[in-house]
Amino acid sequence: MADTGVDSGTFAGEYEAGFGDYFALLKPRVMSLVVFTAMVGLLVAPVGVHPMIGFASILFIALGAGASGALNMWWDADIDAAMRRTAKRPVPSGRVEAGEALAIGVALSVLATVMLALAANWVAAGLLGFTIFFYAVIYTMWLKRWTPQNIVIGGAAGAFPPMIGWAVATGGVSLESALMFALIFMWTPPHFWALALFMKSDYDDAGVPMLTVTHGRKVTRTHILAYTALLAPLAVWLGLTSIGGPVYLVVAIAMNAWFVKGAIEIWRRDEVRAEADKYRTEKAFFRFSLWYLFLHFGALLVDATLRMGGVI
């Protein structure tokens, strides 16, 4: 069949990727969350940094996150192709070759880590390097296809950016940065499991061991409640540290009360009820979880601004 010259490989070879295709490898939407949380980590730290160093550091943290996204797309091209949500990504759709994604991922990882070390310090660079390794190797290559706790462990990679931002300013790790890490780490499982409850076919088709598939949907609902209940005190505790303030405390108490209430509702529902109203509660919980993280970190920023202005 090779002599016909019209197989899909021929067309794939003819396609030349544009800049946007390579940029898409870096998962820009994930990068925007990384930029925001790392920026908050940096700005709420008790030590000031020069704006140029702060700006460059955030950029290199974002670049490192993008690099780990490219490595993820290189390794996961097979399962990305099987999922509706990810089938149009550059590698599974044939716009970028897997080898290119690997080369870009490795090159940008090294560049981002070394440049962060030069711009800020080696603690921040070490944390960034570890985050890339954790996401690309521990999560993507090892645990994602092996354990239904993949989301829990993968969440750690997304939780590091505020800790790195804090390290850029302070050169170390502290209770405050550990709690910012814990906030994202504990938030990730309920956020993704709520998504998995109403996007079930995607993960099933790809053969990724999501909790919904391996342990059933009832167990997943219980896990959402358990993680949400553990998340709430951690979120409020952050408000009692040196970076907390009245705005954050009000936001944290109000949002966590709603989040726990939503998790209880999800836990009490069964599939019959969920199917009947097309997963309305699960979808509302997922949408709220997006605001949850944004408003918690936004409130930290507001309190830091008020503190700087001498208001609190």
Binding site: E16, A17, G18, F19, G20, F23, I53, A56, L59, L118
Partner: protein, 61 residues
């Protein structure tokens, strides 16, 4: 069939070249900016520049 001077592939190549060019220019600007800031943070810097400067020797002692 008339030959098209501009194929769609040229547009993609151009976007790639322009994108890489801008990315490199940004990197150069950042490295330059960081260098300026880092050097400024060192404070006053001086050394022996073909001429012996007694104040440096005293400072060393």
């Amino acid at each position: 069939m008339a030959l098209r001077a501009e194929h769609e592939i040229h547009g993609r190549r151009k976007s790639r070249n322009v994108g890489v060019g801008i990315a490199l220019a940004v990197l150069i600007a950042i490295v330059f900016g960081l260098t300026v800031v880092k050097v400024q943070q060192l404070g006053a810097v001086q050394g022996f520049d073909h001429v012996v400067r007694p104040e440096l020797i005293e400072a060393a002692e």
